[in-house]
């Protein structure tokens, strides 16, 4: 169980969240408490992954049929898009310019 400031910054990076220095100090303390608490399951008897995950659950799929009329929801959905151009969502380019 580790939860140093570096680890928290790394998790924040994975979660696409920026953490300020003040936030980091209180998060470090909270993390210690929360991880300490949830770690008690390590002492719980039973619960081996192989034996106890066969619970009869199965995925439910619907038939891929009866599509709605194309464009029916486009206007309403685009209303909510923060940055758009015509009928497109506008995002910045992902790959940097090659030099």
């Amino acid at each position: 169980m580790t939860s140093g400031k570096n680890d928290i910054q790394k998790l924040a990076g994975l979660a696409r969240i920026r953490i300020s220095e003040e936030e980091l100090s209180s998060l470090e303390k909270d993390f210690e408490g929360i991880l300490g608490y949830i770690s008690q399951i390590q002492q719980a008897a039973g619960g081996t992954f192989e034996a106890d995950t066969k619970d009869g659950l199965h995925n439910v799929f619907r038939e891929d049929q009866n599509p709605h009329e194309s464009g029916k929801y486009t206007v309403a959905l685009l209303e909510e898009v923060p940055k758009k151009e015509k009928n497109y969502l506008k995002v910045k380019k992902i790959l940097p310019e090659s030099k």
Binding site: L14, G47, V91
Partner: protein, 479 residues
């Protein structure tokens, strides 16, 4: 009818009055709006009051005038938690992330309520993205308990509970992931129900932890709660985990209640002595009414809360990854796409939401997955087997709803202390079984009488069994 007492009026009574023409839906709705105007500035139960509700009430009155059969909830004003979509209205989850987000469709539960003739007064305050047990984690200020304004209404559906408790709505919808309906119902003196997982469609409920989330009703009586439940329940093609519970109606006729006594005696975080006494008194009263009580043992009950606080944040971190400032919600402009993501999410989410996303990221990360998420999922299945075994011996399980009465605003600043408020309620979500909190009396704190809830749980699909026991609790606890 001169004045309508909305603090005591039930849905069933209101329906009779409306049919008889004692008052109109417009008059009833105006009475609710008058309460909101008077009390909401200090209670902060509503984030927004919808301006079309009186128009809808007029339409309901026209239908009443026509006569004939009226749908179950015609002209009945309800309050709706801010994470349940109503097409065209804002649904913000009490977050800055969705401050201006307008729902592009209605939740299935909302469509069913509309079809049944219900009216929507407004959207109610909550802990941001339903993460909390006090409604103090809202981005739009805390909601106060109408019975004692120095105390919390519970959470995360605290706004819905306060809306009904202050007499501004005849019923409300909330969502319950680990007690978010039952605990505020307990704190506000209401009946709160979490249906069997899948009994009510989750389509249009903004996801927090998908394998636990359920929509359910708040009401003043068990019968009102039953009425609301039967309107919103049902299988839905838009939620593949939904099931029809009506066809699986209760064959549990037994009147045996199991009490996990050993767990209660050593519950993590402890239980308030007066709350425990109230619980035991209610059990004795039920025994007097013909119920048999059994001590039961659910060996892993003590592990339920840590299991929940692993699986839930894992699902939170996945579900909330969709808020990236691209398709909807808050967008903050940065120098790169990564900047856009990080700035939007950092500014859009509040502290508790960020904390849970980070814990979820931790328990799912490759080095810790087996020790946390993997182990928790396996233990969840162990608990489900233990619960099935117990229900071979008893027809219901009883626990207090919460370990304390409503606590003071600001009292629980430590996250784990707040989490322990779910110690009796998370169990039903982890097991997937239906559960209900019914008022069982009150305890006195600082000269104020604070309500306490008695929680009863039934086997999967036996939601109807809860209403039968619930009515017995109401009668023996003097409601």
């Amino acid at each position: 009818m001169a004045t309508i007492d909305t603090t005591s009026l039930t849905i069933a009574q209101a329906r009779e009055h409306l049919i008889r023409g004692d008052f109109s839906s417009v008059e009833l709705t105006e009475a609710c709006r008058a309460v909101i105007e008077k009390k909401n500035p200090s209670i902060n139960a509503y984030l927004e009051v919808f301006d079309d509700v009186l128009e809808k009430a007029k339409e309901a009155d026209k239908q009443f005038k026509k006569g004939g059969e009226h749908p179950t909830l015609l002209g009945i004003p309800l309050a709706i938690k801010d994470n349940i979509l109503i097409e065209g209205n804002i649904a913000s989850c009490a977050s800055k992330m969705l401050e201006h987000y307008r729902a592009t469709y209605s939740a299935t539960a909302i469509q069913k309520l509309k079809k049944a003739g219900a009216l929507f007064l407004g959207r109610t305050n909550m802990d941001e993205f339903a993460m909390g047990a006090s409604t103090e984690h809202s981005a739009y200020g805390v909601t106060k308990n109408p019975l004692d304004e120095t105390r919390v209404p519970g959470g995360s559906s605290g706004g819905s509970a306060a809306a009904v408790a202050m007499g501004s709505a005849l019923g409300a919808l909330g969502s319950d992931t680990a007690g978010s309906i039952r605990q505020p119902a307990s704190f506000c003196g209401l009946v709160g129900m979490k249906p069997t997982y899948g009994a009510v469609s989750r389509s249009g409920l903004i996801a927090m932890a998908s394998s636990f989330d359920q929509i359910g009703p708040f009401a003043k009586t068990v019968s009102d709660s039953e009425l609301l439940f039967h309107v919103i329940a049902g299988k839905d093609s838009l939620d593949s985990t939904s099931i029809e519970v009506k066809g699986q109606r209760s064959d549990v006729k037994g009147r045996t209640i199991g009490v996990p006594r050993a767990f209660l005696e050593s519950v993590p975080g402890g239980i308030d002595a007066d709350v425990y006494k109230n619980f035991n008194d209610a059990l004795e009263a039920l025994r007097g009414a013909g119920y048999t009580l059994h001590d039961i043992d659910i060996p892993h009950l003590v592990d339920v809360l840590p299991i929940y606080y692993i699986i839930m944040p894992a699902e939170v971190s996945s579900n909330l990854a969709r808020f990236d400032g691209v398709r909807y919600g808050l967008h903050k402009e940065g120098a790169s796409l990564l900047d856009d993501y990080e700035l939007s999410r950092s500014e859009g989410f509040g502290p508790e939401t960020k904390r849970r996303i980070l814990v979820g990221t931790y328990v799912l990360s490759s080095g810790y997955y087996d020790a946390y998420y993997g182990k928790a999922i396996a233990l969840k299945n162990v608990i489900r087997r233990e619960v099935d075994a117990v229900f071979k011996k008893v027809s219901a399980i009883a626990l207090p709803t919460a370990p304390t009465p409503a606590f003071k605003l600001g009292e629980k600043s430590d996250p784990v202390a707040m989490y322990l408020s779910d110690v009796f309620t998370a169990f039903a979500n982890v097991a997937g079984i239906p559960a209900m909190s019914v008022p069982s009396g009150a305890v006195e704190r600082d000269g104020v009488s604070l309500p306490v809830g008695f929680q009863v749980m039934a086997p999967h699909f036996h939601d109807d069994h809860l209403f039968a026991i619930g009515r017995d609790i109401e009668s023996v606890c003097g409601k």
